[in-house]
């Protein structure tokens, strides 16, 4: 239009003339026509438009109606789809409808199903009934679609109601339906509504020409804001915490929510009816008696508030507009739908007053200032908690089952292990019995002290092996200590009776004893004497050895113990003076030095200082060891032989025993072994001398 004029700056004469070529000048405002031709043109145009709209040709029509809403244009395009229908509104009979069928099916996939349903339900009434029914449906739907863009929703509703009424009249008066029974006529009317509305649902539900959607959003928002309202606020007797009630309430809510998914108004109504029946059940459950409207409406409001159904307003308006009017005003469905309308309108107009609460409180709730944990919410939470609890319980059950299985297995395994252990123990003990294990370590240590071995004949190995092995096995318990003492004593006694040669023997047994427990006592007792100032004198002579290593071979101290009777006597005196403590200590001496020493030390010092040195070791010693001896004496009879043997064996290898004994001693003390050789040699010599001396002294 304007485009024709704008590009050229110079306007030709022809351009100024009327486009119609009537000779008059045209005007751009008149689309290049002269005034007269423009009027004619517009008239024609208008006429064409009306024709087009009648034919549904909206593509051109819309170009004229520039100010139409976008939404409407969109819907125009939709309706354009059904062009063929409108071109032949009169020829809607059998032959003219193939296209229509396709259209209906395309806009509504349920149409086929409905048609099948219709045939199965009403097919018996003959082809004529079916044809007339479909004819009416199609005339109705096409009329609605035709008017869709030009009429408001309410006008469309009027059209629909008129069609319902006219079909109702047709049912009652047309000869086609002459043979149809009255109840089937009602059903046919229902089906008429359903069939048409399912097809028209997309156009009539929440139509763009209305503000239904805004209403939906506002009521949704409103209900959301009112989420704090509980049954108590509504004076409604729904007990929100009861499980059965909650289930029923859920049923009611689900029914109400189902309304949105239905297409036909009557289907939506059916949802409302189901919901309301559930509500009635809820109430009956809660109050245990018949329900009246006084209780019903608050309960329904409560349900609506808790359900907050999608597109609530759209649904209600759709039902109100396009449901057969008589049904809405009468019948159970009408009654319940009316109640729903009341409930919704109550929610919309809800004030502090209608909830019987103070305005301030109401506003605080509404603004979210005060959040109210309603029983309903907490019930939901509790329900959720319960649900989780149940889930967890079942989980725990499964776990405990598995656990018990694991336990059983564990027990089994334990038993097996115990058995195995026992077996192994048995095996080991039997092996131990069969083979004197104890001596073998000595062998391993030999390489370390090879120097000595080289210098010494291998004799010492043999004699102790059988003897000591057995002895250890026997004495490993408490016996070992007394044994040792006994040995010591016997030896010392022997040493006392015999001279140097016997003294050497005296060393060997105690040193030879492989078990640390046996060796240490001697040490401990010796050590006891070492720190004590009184004993210093005796120790002074040994101090060099002591300095080198405290854990020096027991031999030295054994010798001290047995031979340097003068010094040792102090301890024994102590033992005498405080017999009872020493008695209790006596087992201790056999325990590792660490434990034995500190205990004995402190008491020793003063007592030792006070006590005069008694130089009668043998007697004392017997006293000291007495408790053990008493026990041992019983065994002595058996062991004596062994002991004798023990004594005997070293005697055989008199020269070497010193060194092997040292090894054993060191082997017990582990890391100190390397330092052994040099010292031992010295010590042993010293010991020998000392022991000789001491033995002499004692003598």
């Amino acid at each position: 239009m304007y485009a024709t004029k704008q590009p050229s700056l110079r306007i030709k004469q022809a351009d100024l003339k009327c486009k119609n070529g009537c000779g008059y000048f045209g005007n751009a405002d008149w689309e290049g026509y002269c005034s007269k031709c423009y009027r004619n043109h517009m008239d024609k145009e208008r006429q064409r438009k009306s024709n087009q709209s009648q034919h549904g040709d909206h593509s051109k029509a819309t170009s004229f109606s520039k100010f139409e809403e976008k939404k409407r244009q969109q819907s125009d395009k939709k309706t354009k789809y059904f062009l063929p229908v409108f071109r032949k509104p009169s020829s809607l009979k059998e032959t003219g409808r193939p296209e229509k069928y396709i259209d209906i099916r395309q806009m509504n996939p349920d149409a086929d199903k409905l048609l099948a349903e219709f045939i199965s339900a009403y097919g018996e009434w003959g082809e004529a009934v079916r044809k007339d029914f479909l004819k009416c449906v199609h005339s109705f739907t096409s009329k609605i679609i035709h008017e869709l863009d030009f009429k408001s929703a309410d006008e469309l509703a009027d059209i629909a109601q008129n069609y319902y009424n006219s079909y109702n009249n047709r049912l009652n008066n047309n000869t086609v339906y002459q043979n149809v029974t009255p109840d089937v006529r009602d059903k046919l009317l229902d089906f008429f509504e359903r069939y048409s509305m399912v097809g028209l649902y997309t156009f009539l539900f929440c139509p763009p020409s209305t503000n239904d959607e805004d209403k939906d959003l506002s009521i949704q928002d409103r209900i959301r804001k009112l989420s704090w309202v509980n049954a108590h606020h509504l004076d409604c007797c729904i007990s929100e915490t009861s499980i059965e009630v909650r289930d029923l309430v859920y049923t009611a809510i689900n029914d109400l929510l189902g309304m949105d998914s239905m297409k036909a108004p009557q289907e939506k109504l059916a949802c409302v009816v189901r919901c309301c029946r559930s509500v009635v059940e809820v109430l009956q459950h809660c109050q245990g008696g018949p329900v009246s409207a006084d209780e019903f409406l608050p309960a329904l409001i409560f349900i609506v508030l808790k359900a907050n159904p999608a597109r609530l307003k759209s649904n209600m308006l759709y039902v109100t507009r396009f449901c057969y009017g008589a049904r809405l005003m009468q019948g159970e469905a009408g009654y319940y739908f009316t109640n729903l309308c009341c409930a919704v309108s109550f929610i919309e107009n809800l004030t502090a007053e209608s909830l019987n609460m103070a305005q301030q409180e109401f506003e605080a709730y509404m603004s979210g200032e005060v959040t109210c944990v309603s029983a309903w919410e907490s019930a939901l939470v509790a329900c959720e908690g319960m649900h989780q609890l149940c889930e967890h319980l079942s989980l725990l059950k499964g776990l405990s089952e598995r656990m018990s299985a694991v336990k059983d297995d564990t027990q089994k395994l334990k038993d097996d292990m115990r058995k195995l252990k026992e077996e192994i123990n048995d095996e080991v003990t039997s092996v131990l019995e069969r083979t004197p294990l104890v001596i073998k370590p000595r062998k391993t240590i030999f390489p370390l002290t090879m120097e000595f071995l080289k210098s010494l004949p291998p004799l010492p190995e043999k004699p102790p092996i059988p003897d000591k092995g057995k002895e250890v096995e026997i004495n490993q318990d408490v016996d070992t200590a007394p044994k040792f003492y006994q040995q010591n004593i016997t030896l010392t006694q022997m040493g006392l009776s015999d001279n140097k040669p016997k003294l050497q023997l005296d060393i060997t047994p105690c040193v030879n004893l492989p078990s640390a427990s046996v060796v240490k006592p001697s040490l401990s007792t010796d050590f006891l004497s070492v720190p004590s100032p009184a004993a210093d004198k005796s120790i002074e002579s040994i101090t060099p050895d002591d300095n080198s290593y405290l854990g020096l071979s027991k031999i030295n101290y054994d010798i001290d113990f047995s031979d340097i009777s003068a010094e040792n006597s102090i301890i024994e005196d102590l033992g005498e003076s405080r017999r009872s403590p020493t008695m209790s200590f006596t087992p201790d001496p056999f325990s590792p030095m660490g434990t034995g020493c500190p205990i004995m030390q402190s008491p020793l010092v003063p007592s030792a200082a006070e006590m005069p040195r008694v130089e009668v070791p043998p007697v004392r010693k017997n006293d000291f060891v007495l408790p053990f001896l008493e026990e041992i004496e019983k065994e002595d009879t058996k062991k004596e032989t062994l002991l004798d043997k023990v004594e005997e064996t070293p005697t055989i290898c008199l020269p070497p025993p010193i060194k092997p004994t040292e090894y054993t001693g060191f082997s017990k003390q582990g890391s100190r072994i390397p330092s052994i050789p040099c010292n031992t040699g010295d010590v042993s010599s010293l010991n020998l001398q000392q022991s000789a001396g001491s033995s002499k002294d004692t003598n």
């Binding site: 109840d183 009557q266 029946r277 018949p290 409406l297 008589a326 009468q330 009654y335 009341c342």
Partner: protein
Amino acid sequence: MSAGPYNYSYIFKYIIIGDMGVGKSCLLHQFTEKKFMADCPHTIGVEFGTRIIEVSGQKIKLQIWDTAGQERFRAVTRSYYRGAAGALMVYDITRRSTYNHLSSWLTDTRNLTNPSTVIFLIGNKCDLEGQRDVTYEEASKFAEENGLMFVEASAKTGDNVEEAFLETAKKIYQSIQDGRLDLNAAESGVQHKPSQPGGRPGSAAGGDQSGRDNCAC
């Protein structure tokens, strides 16, 4: 119900209004089930009831809508009134407050129904004579002044209950006969099925094809 759903020529819609607790539901229950509601603990809901009665040889189906009586719902219960042919306005003779509220109920009814709607005043609980708070005379006078039909009834004993419903129906039917009630008006509250012997009585509102559940007692 003994009568089949299509053996009637008219459908009348009634509403029962009145304060909470005046016995609206009990009246309804008494009328539809012929039993006192409190004696029927298994009755589920009686907020909606139907019964077919006979007036002047015409079978009429009565659909009775119970309504919530709370003051707070008064504003929103407007849609109850839509298309009601009869309104039963109930008060409790033992509670004066329920009687005092009648005028507001009456105003609502007058405003929200069509002029031909028959309004019937029922003073319920007349079995509780000892606790009477509203005299018969007083209520009767009120009814007369406002052009209402009036009866004292007892939902418990069933006294006058049937009568109230039937009288209302008669009055409505009379209005129809007189032509005061336009059957074609959208909200007349009456649906007429042109009764024609031979099975062409026309259509009724199809929504309620089955009567209300029978009392389980």
